[in-house]
Point group: D3
Chain length 307, copies 6
Amino acid sequence: MTTTGPVVCFGELLLRLTAPAGSMLLQDSYVNAHFAGAEANVAIALARLGHPARHVTRLPANPLGDAAIQHLRRYGVDTTGCRFADGRLGLYFLTPGASLRAAHIVYDRAGSAFAGIDADSFSWPPLLAGASRLHLSGITAALGAGPAAAASAAVAAARNAGIPVAFDGNYRASLWTGREHLAPALLRPLAAAADILFGDARDIALLLETAVADHDRAVAAAFAAFPNLAVVAGTRRTVLGSDRHRLSARLDSRAGHAETAAVEFPVVERIGGGDAFAAGVLHALAERPADLAHAAETGLALSILKH
Amino acid sequence: MTTTGPVVCFGELLLRLTAPAGSMLLQDSYVNAHFAGAEANVAIALARLGHPARHVTRLPANPLGDAAIQHLRRYGVDTTGCRFADGRLGLYFLTPGASLRAAHIVYDRAGSAFAGIDADSFSWPPLLAGASRLHLSGITAALGAGPAAAASAAVAAARNAGIPVAFDGNYRASLWTGREHLAPALLRPLAAAADILFGDARDIALLLETAVADHDRAVAAAFAAFPNLAVVAGTRRTVLGSDRHRLSARLDSRAGHAETAAVEFPVVERIGGGDAFAAGVLHALAERPADLAHAAETGLALSILKH
Amino acid sequence: MTTTGPVVCFGELLLRLTAPAGSMLLQDSYVNAHFAGAEANVAIALARLGHPARHVTRLPANPLGDAAIQHLRRYGVDTTGCRFADGRLGLYFLTPGASLRAAHIVYDRAGSAFAGIDADSFSWPPLLAGASRLHLSGITAALGAGPAAAASAAVAAARNAGIPVAFDGNYRASLWTGREHLAPALLRPLAAAADILFGDARDIALLLETAVADHDRAVAAAFAAFPNLAVVAGTRRTVLGSDRHRLSARLDSRAGHAETAAVEFPVVERIGGGDAFAAGVLHALAERPADLAHAAETGLALSILKH
Amino acid sequence: MTTTGPVVCFGELLLRLTAPAGSMLLQDSYVNAHFAGAEANVAIALARLGHPARHVTRLPANPLGDAAIQHLRRYGVDTTGCRFADGRLGLYFLTPGASLRAAHIVYDRAGSAFAGIDADSFSWPPLLAGASRLHLSGITAALGAGPAAAASAAVAAARNAGIPVAFDGNYRASLWTGREHLAPALLRPLAAAADILFGDARDIALLLETAVADHDRAVAAAFAAFPNLAVVAGTRRTVLGSDRHRLSARLDSRAGHAETAAVEFPVVERIGGGDAFAAGVLHALAERPADLAHAAETGLALSILKH
Amino acid sequence: MTTTGPVVCFGELLLRLTAPAGSMLLQDSYVNAHFAGAEANVAIALARLGHPARHVTRLPANPLGDAAIQHLRRYGVDTTGCRFADGRLGLYFLTPGASLRAAHIVYDRAGSAFAGIDADSFSWPPLLAGASRLHLSGITAALGAGPAAAASAAVAAARNAGIPVAFDGNYRASLWTGREHLAPALLRPLAAAADILFGDARDIALLLETAVADHDRAVAAAFAAFPNLAVVAGTRRTVLGSDRHRLSARLDSRAGHAETAAVEFPVVERIGGGDAFAAGVLHALAERPADLAHAAETGLALSILKH
Amino acid sequence: MTTTGPVVCFGELLLRLTAPAGSMLLQDSYVNAHFAGAEANVAIALARLGHPARHVTRLPANPLGDAAIQHLRRYGVDTTGCRFADGRLGLYFLTPGASLRAAHIVYDRAGSAFAGIDADSFSWPPLLAGASRLHLSGITAALGAGPAAAASAAVAAARNAGIPVAFDGNYRASLWTGREHLAPALLRPLAAAADILFGDARDIALLLETAVADHDRAVAAAFAAFPNLAVVAGTRRTVLGSDRHRLSARLDSRAGHAETAAVEFPVVERIGGGDAFAAGVLHALAERPADLAHAAETGLALSILKH
Ligand SMILES: Nc1ncnc2c1ncn2[C@@H]1O[C@H](COP(=O)(O)OP(=O)(O)O)[C@@H](O)[C@H]1O
Ligand SMILES: Nc1ncnc2c1ncn2[C@@H]1O[C@H](COP(=O)(O)OP(=O)(O)O)[C@@H](O)[C@H]1O
Ligand SMILES: Nc1ncnc2c1ncn2[C@@H]1O[C@H](COP(=O)(O)OP(=O)(O)O)[C@@H](O)[C@H]1O
Ligand SMILES: Nc1ncnc2c1ncn2[C@@H]1O[C@H](COP(=O)(O)OP(=O)(O)O)[C@@H](O)[C@H]1O
Ligand SMILES: Nc1ncnc2c1ncn2[C@@H]1O[C@H](COP(=O)(O)OP(=O)(O)O)[C@@H](O)[C@H]1O
Ligand SMILES: Nc1ncnc2c1ncn2[C@@H]1O[C@H](COP(=O)(O)OP(=O)(O)O)[C@@H](O)[C@H]1O
């Protein structure tokens, strides 16, 4: 366990309501209920690995928000950065895939307490005091002008305090519907502030508004565009069948790169695999900053365990 | 079974998410999920009694809305009056009471597809064609100016077509928070259009903006204020303990009244008791219009079965 | 624990399919499944009390019949008297009562492997060898001419071998629908063979085809009509509310009677209360044959535990 | 959505009681309960695709029959053709397969309300009025002389009214046990009436009482034997492992045929795959009557989703 | 919320395995699993009330111990005082009562990681640093010489540091089986150190080895025997029926006493009622030290909510 | 079904508490509960195959022990050899594997009623009277000096009475932690007494304290070292993926050997596969003693069904 300060994660905490295995949504008289949220997943995974982690978010001031706090605390995440406000808890309804039927999601997150934040909702200096790192993702920018401004404020405060920033693109077209054109301008400054960027050639193309290049060129372009950038971390997935994937991980620095062998495995549930990868990489780099190969292996191992 | 046309019910359909018995919200990994909504409950209860019933509402154009339609159809409700639109499905989270702990509700219904309706969302003449009655409740007026206008439009169309209107006050302070002052003006025209009013002295005082009177005076005042009114129907509840109630029903006409004996019973779940009462009264009056005593007994019996 | 031979119980074993608490039948995607059957309940209760018990029945030669055997064996009942044949397993579907709504049963037992038995289906002498008692009930006679003949054969064999017989009237009108007129003639010989009769004044009136008398007279009439009869055992129930009963037990011999105090208790589930009473009485009388008071107390205690 | 009249489906509705995953029958205290029945599955699938569908069947006049009606209505199937009668609801008990253990079924359908029908149980002209098609299967003929006569009557009425007939062989040896020799004579007239036949070379051989030929010859023989026949539709399955199948679909007309590529997929549950195929083909041919390739693709896609 | 330091609770954390409602132990294929332990219940209740609470215990160094930590953290309890060691997690198996059948417990706690502690297992000064109070109970002393010595050491350290001590007798004969004679000598020093004692006349008689006196005399004797004692807090329970209790609370100081009215309520589950009472009293006295009436009301309210 | 006497199985009966699929231990509010124990699994499997089987063990004298008896009886195992004593029921907690995550076990069996047995705990001659075989495994020897002595006593009594002995090595390093050096000396006499040995080259090397040889040599060495030995039976497993194994079975006698083809299959749950193999081999050899091939096929088939 490291003795450095906490990783501060910033992002929305959601409730996922899932149809029981083999059923369509609301055909049965219950739904499974679990908390979700990319950045909170990273915080929880880090805390379970013994790494101090603090989650910063805004929750509704009601029993749903209280339960969200309990969820974070259960896994040892520091919740002193969680604020309460009017508004709802963001939800999404998931019908898991089965055989060749794809999973299906109904988002229901408009009007959440988190979506209502803006640049002034959090007082960042105390929230970041003593932190070893800030971690955030592109999802926050997708939620609207307010959250995007809050993300900028967080990043600015971290830069100010000399705290390194990790950024996970986490681009999901469905979250940007109708605002796709805003994505590059909103995401670029966040990526520009980061020393660790989670993403692949597609994410880099989006950030740089270029065509999708091969991996080496994309990474080179990212290093050229973002002077702070030290590491680009991503996974490569081959879908062998609906329930069988092959996954490898690759980390690039300016000095070189490390790539794991590809591992084939049965997929139980995909959700959260990317977050576990990020947590594994952050954890490994915190312990052995220069060891790209170790970080790639750790990220891959955690990601597969999550699948 | 009657041969007259359908009772057309109009109101929001919600999803109720309930913590498992004995648990607080989101302490377990699932929540029970059931459709709810006062007016839809009436439609379903009527259909189960063999009475034609049509439900008019607006639902989100997604799998949650589809499941809501399936719910109505399952019990034989005609869904040709259900429209689809953008927006969410209204939700509420319920923690059931236990021993002396009261039940607790978190509403999460802002922004629903139904809340976005206005006076022009429904083309009432075809929806009401052939109907034997329109049934609606004060809940719709509480949801905002648009739904209130839609309720007015429905009532106007029914009056125009000579179709009798039943109105259930269903006043819940928590639904009117911040808009309490608007309630009388919004609800009074709906009550004024009705020949059957579900409510008690407290509801009448609210409508007439008077102090709460005893039952006889309140009913007299209602008959004086609302020339179309033929029947006032309500229940009187004595709470004997957290799990034991005593309930009687009373119907007043201009000519007299009928009152049942009070029945004592163990309470399993309170939700929907008022709706079942309304359905029982409507059903009985449809079959034997002048028989207040029969209607009071039928309403009471159904209400208790629902508890 | 007694050292005497087994009580041999004879009767149908059924599967009860029950709607989950609070639901109507088949509204949910599962039903609870438990084995039932009055005489088998007695056998199981005796075995759990440490008394040897053998159950004689006929089951379908399929996995349902196998599971029924496992059920009996689990509680230590000797299943060497169970036969297999074509036919189905008798079922009944139960919707439990709630609040003031009564429980509702749908029988589905026609054509069962047991219903197809006749006087020759069992070779009674070996089945009864070494037995301390035969126990059967009026339900078997209700199932048709074949089962009634089989019950007669069982009773005749027991009388022949000097084995005492216990008979539980267990009259349920719904089982005799269309054959009510046959009941007295079919049941009387079974009661006439018994030294212990479970029943009350209503049961005796049915057997003797007289009007229902008060308890003392009914019992006197039974002793007069049935020379073998030594004990009449029954319970008196006062329903205080849907979930609250008061129950007392009374045993009459030719020499006198014993009656317990009445015990008030909350009712969880009624089914099987009468069977537990019979098992308790049989167990107590096997250990202390002359102690009516002890037997009444034991029967009452077991019956209440079953409620 | 098409504007043509409803597809009228005719057949038994059953209740399937399934052991929980990983358990043998009745080892647990509950069983999963779902409605089943090949023709009703087709009706439901068509209704979910937006196609009007009416199901004609006979159900027991009890709460199980009521729940069956609710099941059909939930998915939008018109139930005006459902009749009620004495008798039971047909059941079957299913132990799902696991690893290399095959699934196991115990039928319990003798004496059902449907099995008691005969040629006069339904008044077909009004039931078929306005219909775009009648769909039935060989299962009905397997249930006994009465149901077979009812199927003939249905087919005759459809022919009379000029309504096309679809027939799914659905041959299951276990349903015909002891009556195998009757199958060809009972099934042939049904197939002879159909313009669409669901089946493969094995089904055709059975109908024509010939040896099993290769697919092309079998289809040619069918077209020769049945002058009304326009389309033969079937699937070809390769079992790659207990949980992995490969499936393709083929439709033959007198003018040619269309065959899909074979799709490999993990099998979740096999039941109902054939019904979904039939529904997909009927739906596609209703929209684009001449497009065999489109129908084959649609049928295959729906069938795989059901697995 | 108070700004004073944490209440430090010290005691064993157990896992309770409970048969599903209505079932006997291990008749079903699952058991409900919840963490328990009198002192940890107090810590959790205080934390939920917003009061800082730290739990000190020893847990097995395995996934069960990890899950115990997560349980405490979930509700906001500070777990920095939890140690890990070899040994097991203490368990108990509970069959809930039903109707007149009493609940039944099988303890399985021998050899637990906590039972192996001794006077030196915890370094108390840092664990108590900044604490506003130490809370412990007689259960720890019942677990053996080692735990009893650890309790003494805790109390001594608290006294040394000037930290007030609360002691809950929590006498359960079944925990002391075979060691009953040791109880007074082991418990008396713990009570002597306390300024708040939870218990009634029976507990005081046990501590002072006198006959059970009436409440006033017992309390007077306790104040005479224990110079540090400031408050005696207890509840009085009347069992009205198996599922209906009446409860009142009383607090005595040297200056007087406060007693609540008796509240009648339906009992859902008894376990933990005493712990909730203690937490309510500690919380109320921390906020308003002199207000006995307020503390009695708060304790009673929380206790009833737990039933 | 054979007419020979029962196979007497001797070993501990445990309770397995399993996290729900997809969850970690104690993240949910329940755990699945099933009885386990290698030798009892063999007894149950034999009884289900129609072979008489008696299980000899010691259980705690409490409701958990009673439930264990019920479990054995349910499947027709003779429990007259089960004794009761103080102590606990041995437990283990299982987190099933998922995707690439391995299953994880927490043993909690110290201090069990069985672990407390010694050479005199069972009176073997009557327990073995009429038996066709004694079956035991190396697990018993691993539990301590007392159980090891009891196993020796059982084997000695069997040899004395001329009853053949089957021995399953069942070596699990985790059970011998800290006592590994004792294993060969404790296990060798048990193996030496056996005519059927379940194990592979690794097990034989352990018994003979040699290096692991190839299969043929290992078997030859075993036949040389153990003059009583007639058959060595084992399986060869190839792990193709986390959820896909290939398994073959081989039986060696002094005269030759038989080996099945390798079967590939999806793995649902591994636990108990070895026990099912042993039961299948014992059953087959009891019916056709010389038919190695038949026994290998039977063992393999049962083992795969258990996976
Ligand atoms: N709209 C959203 N807002 C925040 N988090 C989301 C949203 N949608 C999904 N997530 C979360 O993002 C995480 C990553 O999603 P996933 O589908 O696994 O993609 P990947 O593994 O490629 O990152 C999940 O944990 C999920 O809970
Ligand atoms: N906000 C709401 N909008 C619509 N229906 C509601 C709302 N809140 C509750 N309901 C519904 O109103 C119905 C009646 O509620 P209930 O609490 O039983 O009061 P009562 O029985 O006195 O009418 C319930 O069926 C519930 O589903
Ligand atoms: N048709 C039946 N055939 C056999 N047993 C039945 C039948 N119906 C009910 N039983 C059984 O009879 C037993 C006694 O029923 P119950 O309703 O408790 O009446 P009572 O307690 O008055 O005897 C129950 O265990 C039930 O399983
Ligand atoms: N005896 C039966 N009577 C009516 N329907 C049945 C019967 N047995 C099975 N079915 C139904 O037939 C349908 C098709 O069965 P299935 O086993 O999937 O075969 P296939 O997919 O090859 O047609 C299923 O939906 C099932 O519910
Ligand atoms: N052996 C034990 N060790 C520790 N805690 C125990 C033990 N037995 C019970 N408890 C705990 O003690 C608490 C109080 O028990 P309870 O039966 O409610 O008595 P009371 O309410 O009178 O104090 C419960 O929370 C339970 O978890
Ligand atoms: N410590 C133990 N004591 C007794 N039986 C055990 C123990 N651990 C596992 N078992 C039992 O041993 C049996 C065999 O275990 P398993 O893991 O399947 O190995 P294999 O199949 O190779 O023999 C299982 O049924 C399990 O219940």
